[in-house]
């Protein structure tokens, strides 16, 4: 169940007409000058080999969806651009998974040396692969991906500029967007569904708490260094059981203060990476880090093979939002064939050092022709202990195919 918010519209049956109207409106808009419409649309098939763990979850083995993500860029003047990107999923059957989100809708304007962005936009920080620890601006869309790899557009007033060789990025985030979770019948949810329509906030002004963030980044030879600061509503909620609503878990969002650092040393074919943060506001103050190395074997019959090893640490206590990455090792391989089809694949496994619970993940893609691309994604969870967060999703192993038409 996605919550109603100014940027997200929930769809049930009968939503098809709105879906199609929006698409047509966007396509028609593309005929004007100084505008560029691009994006993708296509079909997805999810395959769940195991029956769900909890009552109320759909027991369909095959779950088809339609996806579309148009993006329109309009040059308003030599120094200003309007960008909008929608994302929509039309899920089969009567499900809570159908949704539409504004991933981007912002005005970008150059004011002297400053770049200003006003509206809902995306921002990514960090260098590691197994977890995006310091990346905090955009809320995760767990309906789309329980790996926190998909994000919602974040309303912002943002100023960026180059200053003495540093990249300075300043953010005022006036409105908070709640995390989306799979609904009652969805896979990848905890034993009780999450009441996304009744979130709790530490801040008295709820989702209108004005969050502040800043990032400074620079390159010094082979080093790329980023420092970041965030003060505002934490993106990860604690999930609370409330006796007054025993059928659901209520998300609770604390106000947090976080310092982050991300570091990469690019040495020949080897990258050394570090992401670390120090956070207060969720239980006792804690630190977390991901440290890793990526080594690329290049031009092996034309292909590049990157081997990745990362260690994940998180020192949060039990009163903070739960993470499976408290003491884990990630091993991964990235294969890019450098062929005409742009074929690539990442396979990886994250293993808990303490109880050996693991997640195997696979992501791959190849072009069918210039417009169509086939994507495959797979996840296998294995939980060795009931207390491990992964035991929640242990029945939700997934194999997913997408064919997307890029226009």
């Amino acid at each position: 169940m996605t919550s109603p918010s100014p940027l997200s519209i929930e769809y049930r049956e009968g939503s098809v007409s709105i879906f199609i109207t929006l698409m047509l409106a966007l396509l028609l808009a593309s005929t004007s000058r100084a505008e560029e419409l691009k994006g993708s649309m296509g079909a997805e098939l999810r395959l769940y080999p195991s029956s769900p763990k909890y009552e109320g979850q759909d027991d369909d083995m095959l779950v088809p969806s339609l996806l579309f993500s148009p993006s329109l860029t309009k040059k308003l003047s030599p120094t200003s651009t309007l960008t909008s990107t929608l994302f929509g999923r039309l899920h089969s059957g009567d499900s809570d998974q159908s949704h539409l989100d504004i991933r981007e809708l912002y005005l970008q304007k150059m004011i002297g040396e400053w770049e200003m962005r006003l509206g809902a936009a995306k921002e990514f920080w960090g260098v590691t692969e197994s977890r995006h620890l310091v990346n905090i601006i955009n809320q995760a869309d767990l309906v789309e991906d329980i790996d926190e790899e998909e994000h919602l557009g974040q309303p912002m007033l943002n100023f960026n500029r180059e200053i003495f060789g540093n990249e300075l990025r300043l953010f005022l985030l006036p409105y908070f967007r709640e995390r989306t979770f799979p609904g009652q019948d969805g896979r990848g949810r905890p034993p009780l569904p999450i009441a996304t329509d009744a979130p709790l906030y530490e801040s008295g002004v709820g989702e209108w708490h004005p969050d502040l963030a800043m990032r400074v980044r620079r390159s010094i030879g082979a080093w790329d260094i980023g420092l970041s600061e965030f003060y505002g509503t934490g993106r990860e909620p604690s999930l609370r059981f409330t006796p007054s609503a025993p059928e659901t878990l209520q998300p609770y969002y604390e106000v947090i203060h976080q310092q982050g650092v991300d570091l990469q040393y690019t040495l020949s074919s080897t990258l050394l990476k570090l992401e670390a943060l120090y956070r207060s506001g969720q239980g006792d103050d804690f630190a977390a880090a991901v440290i890793g190395v990526e080594h690329t074997l290049s031009n092996i019959l034309g292909a590049d093979i990157g081997l990745m090893l990362e260690y994940l640490y998180d020192g949060r206590d039990a009163s903070a939002p739960v993470t499976p990455f408290n003491d884990d090792i990630y091993l991964g391989a990235r294969i890019a064939l450098n062929d005409v089809r742009g074929s690539e694949m990442i396979v990886g496994v994250t293993i808990d050092r303490d109880n050996l619970s693991s997640t195997i993940s696979l992501e791959g893609g190849t072009r069918i022709n210039d417009s169509w691309r086939l994507e495959v994604e797979g996840k296998v969870f294995s939980s060795e202990e009931k207390s491990d967060p992964l035991s929640i999703v242990e029945n939700d192993d997934l194999l997913q195919f997408r064919v997307l038409y890029h226009f």
Binding site: G302, V340, D370
Partner: protein, 256 residues
């Protein structure tokens, strides 16, 4: 014995004379193109493999940097699934180049290693190093001979990569004596075998000074696959400045 020494020293002297001549020709070619400040152009790459053709397009901007390597920003237009992907490169004469890529779906900027140069670029017959900025210091030079190529008088030069991880043992370049631009480059693999031949045509002069080839064609002599590059919309001395070739600027690249 003495005679042998004389012959040997003469041989070495002629060798180093050839080296010196080669280097001064390379420097002259570099000098003649100096002062372009910056330029932008569109590139269309056609991959040809026994009848089937696939097209890739990108927009390139290049900034001239005095005293260091040039900076360039490439933004892909097609294939559509990588549209908006942009690559920023700082070329350096002797140090490894620096490179960052913008992945538009996440708006993620990644610093990438530049040693992985010898692999194919987007499945074409060009490798990443073939498309990198040709700074004088990246090679050592030897003038082999002077001969006409298709009616154009050329210096024939041997170039040996001085940077690490090159896929080539040497390049043989036919440099046009009139315009000081290459007409042809033969690429030899690490075993010293001829691998590919690149030919340049449709040279046009811009700003009364800067020559640019509007067509290039790379032929793999072993697989017979070909990749054609067509350049258009050259514009020199645009309002672009140093601040448009930074990671900050890469982060704000739109469209493509």
């Amino acid at each position: 014995m003495k005679r042998l020494l004389v012959v040997a020293s003469l041989f070495i002297a002629s060798l180093s004379a050839a080296d010196e001549r080669g280097l001064s020709i390379a420097r002259e070619a570099d000098r003649r193109d100096q002062g372009f400040v910056n330029f932008t152009a569109d590139m269309k790459m056609t991959l040809i493999d026994s009848g089937s053709e696939v097209v890739r397009e990108l927009k390139r901007s290049t900034l001239e940097v005095i005293g260091d390597g040039d900076r360039s920003l490439n933004t892909f237009t097609t294939p559509r699934d990588v549209s908006g992907t942009a690559v920023l490169t700082y070329a350096h004469p002797t140090e490894p180049d620096e490179q960052w890529i913008l992945l538009p779906a996440l708006r993620r900027v990644k610093r990438i290693a530049t040693n992985n140069k010898s692999g194919p670029f987007l499945g074409s017959e060009f490798s990443f190093e073939d498309l990198a900025a040709a700074e004088v210091e990246k090679y050592s030079y030897k003038l082999l001979r002077e001969e006409p190529l298709d009616g154009d008088d050329c210096f024939v030069m041997e170039l040996t990569p001085q940077y690490e991880h090159s896929g080539y043992s040497k390049l043989v370049q036919w440099l046009d004596k009139k315009i000081y631009q290459p007409r042809r480059i033969d690429y030899y693999d690490r075993k010293g075998e001829l691998l590919k031949t690149l030919s340049f045509s449709e040279y046009e002069q811009f700003e009364g000074k800067h020559w640019r080839a509007k067509r290039m064609e790379m032929v793999n002599v072993i697989s017979k696959k070909r990749t054609k590059l067509e350049w258009s919309n050259f514009r020199f001395k645009t309002p672009l400045k140093e601040g448009d070739f930074t990671v900050t600027a890469l982060n704000r690249v739109q469209g493509g």
